[in-house]
């Protein structure tokens, strides 16, 4: 019997300790750091201050954060519009075929995103595949300048994050009960009405989790703007990184990270609401 308790204690103690050390304590330290002052030589001065948060909402920084949120949101919406019909097609295909189609989506998903971002250069650069092809067919006369613009960053985000949108959408659409759609049609609803009133609400959990999986990384993937964008394209992730590694302003970087965590929390709340709401709405 003694052995039993020892094993149980070892397992619980070990895991709780691990979660404390690498999950909870670092988060508390980060939160703590965001409320302290910056010190040029010691990095942090242990004096309470709200300065970082005040600066976060100051016009200059505020507009950068807003732009970055807008860019991530637009990338998310585009992924949703491209991904939804695609996930629908896969979910409605024959079992065997769907499995292959899904596997083909997973392969880019498994490949390192930096390598994939890097691969995109070969397509987008001035003498890259896209320009060469378009010029070959005479569609354009001079190469399009895509590399080092916001468009390239956009394309990079959509390209690397699209699988993250398709997979949860597929899971949600696959679970969709066909009888619901048939019932709706039998009761005289048009195709578009069935889609709006039944398909969308029922797949809402997939839509929201797909959007989360795209939106949050889109804010934080600093290497995509670095590689594909010009110097002026900056996302929240680039800002956080620079605060920690270039400006050495840890309280400010911490405050920006906390802001990002808050955004994540907000999205989690929306997710839970949408799951419950969707269930209720269809039952009515």
């Amino acid at each position: 019997m003694k052995d039993n308790r020892l094993f149980k204690r070892f397992v619980i103690g070990g895991t709780v300790g691990w979660i404390m050390l690498f999950g909870i304590i670092p988060t508390l330290m980060l939160t703590g750091a965001s409320f302290l002052q910056r010190d040029p030589s010691e990095l942090i001065r242990p004096v309470f201050s709200l300065e970082s948060y005040v600066r976060l909402f100051a016009p200059a920084l505020g507009s950068m954060i807003f732009k970055s949120l807008l860019m991530a949101a637009m990338a998310t919406v585009l992924c949703l519009f491209i991904g939804y019909p695609f996930a629908y097609i896969v979910a409605r295909a024959q079992k065997q075929r769907a499995r292959w189609m899904l596997l083909l989506v997973m392969i880019p998903f498994w490949t390192n995103t930096l390598i994939r971002t890097y691969a995109l250069i070969a397509v987008l650069k001035a003498d890259g595949f896209l320009n060469t092809t378009l010029m070959f067919f005479g569609l354009i006369k001079a190469p399009l300048e895509i590399m080092y613009t916001q468009t390239a960053v956009f394309l990079g985000l959509i390209y690397t994050l699209l699988p993250f949108m398709i997979l949860p959408l597929y899971a949600a659409i696959e679970k969709l009960d066909n009888r619901m759609l048939e019932a709706s049609r039998d009761l005289g609803a048009s195709r578009s009405k069935t889609f709006r009133k039944i398909t969308i609400p029922l797949t809402m959990p997939g839509i929201v989790s797909g959007c989360m999986l795209v939106f949050l990384p889109a804010l934080g993937m600093f290497y995509i703007p670095d590689i594909l964008g010009g110097a002026r394209t900056m996302l929240l992730g680039n800002y956080i990184r620079d605060q920690f590694l270039t400006s050495r302003d840890i309280p400010m970087g911490a405050a920006a990270s906390i802001a990002m965590t808050m955004i994540m929390g907000l999205m989690l709340v929306i997710y839970y609401r949408s799951v419950r709401h969707a269930g209720r709405k269809v039952r009515q």
Partner: protein, 255 residues
């Protein structure tokens, strides 16, 4: 007609997903160094890759860290899942919550908070901090995968074993572990790919003494495209895909 539209649409999405990979692969066999124009098939970039020790070393480091962190994350994650499934104690819900939050947290926030921890404790950034970073990234995913596998168990088997006098450890070692094996393999594999795929957490938690492949490529890209990087990227993609396909087969056989 509808079918045609569907096929075309799916085809376009696949084209978008695969075009850059294909173009990169083609470049890696192209004799011309800079332009897309085809100057003949060559393997010289692969040959050059073999002599580029910094790149090869970085790739080996990436694979090493992926194997080690996947293994550790697998052990820890399985223990966490076992505990959550088997024991009832105070704070259980809190652990569920923390794991979920760790799983959903943006990579950059995980990376930054670990960096703050390492700075505060005065650890030198390198292999060990990177390992801790990757294990932290992977454990919640393993726990979730294995936990969902536990949920499908017949709990009567465990109760029967206990009635027959098995200790907690014996139950874990001789019953739970073998039954959870497919979940464990899936969790290991997920961790392996998460670790290989990670750029952001590595960026913050490793130092110049242990530079992994994505970071090496990241600093090389600023100096322009190198054909041997194309070659290495193709090799890495092939390794990842082969590992995943192999494991899928293993999991299927076990079922």
């Amino acid at each position: 007609m509808r079918q045609l539209i569907k096929t075309t649409y799916a085809g376009l999405v696949y084209l978008f997903l695969y075009l850059p990979l294909v173009v990169m692969a083609v470049y890696s066999f192209n004799a011309s160094k800079y332009s897309l124009s085809w100057k003949g098939f060559t393997l010289k970039w692969y040959g050059k890759l073999l002599t580029n020790t910094t790149l090869i070393d970085a790739a080996i480091r990436s694979l090493t860290i992926a194997v080690i962190s996947a293994t550790i994350a697998c052990i820890l994650g399985t223990l966490v899942a076992f505990m959550l499934h088997q024991y009832r104690f105070q704070g259980r819900r809190a652990i569920f919550g923390s794991l979920f939050i760790m799983m959903m947290s943006p990579d950059i926030v995980i990376g930054i908070s670990l960096l703050v921890l390492f700075l505060a404790t005065g650890l030198t950034l390198g292999f060990w901090t990177l390992l801790m970073g990757h294990v932290t990234l992977c454990v919640p995913f393993v726990a979730a995968t294995v936990y969902s596998r536990f949920k499908g168990f017949d709990t009567h088997v465990i109760e029967a074993a206990k009635d027959l006098g098995a200790s907690e450890y014996q139950v874990f070692h001789q019953i739970v572990l073998p039954m959870a094996m497919p979940g464990l393999i899936a969790g290991w594999l997920l961790s392996f790919t998460l670790s290989l795929d990670d750029v952001i957490i590595s960026f913050f938690t490793t130092g110049p003494t242990y530079e992994v492949l994505p970071l090496r490529i990241y600093s090389m890209v600023r100096l322009g495209i190198k054909p041997d990087v194309n070659a290495l990227s193709v090799v890495m993609i092939v390794i990842t895909v082969a590992a995943v396909l192999l494991s899928r087969r293993l999991i299927k056989d076990k079922k």
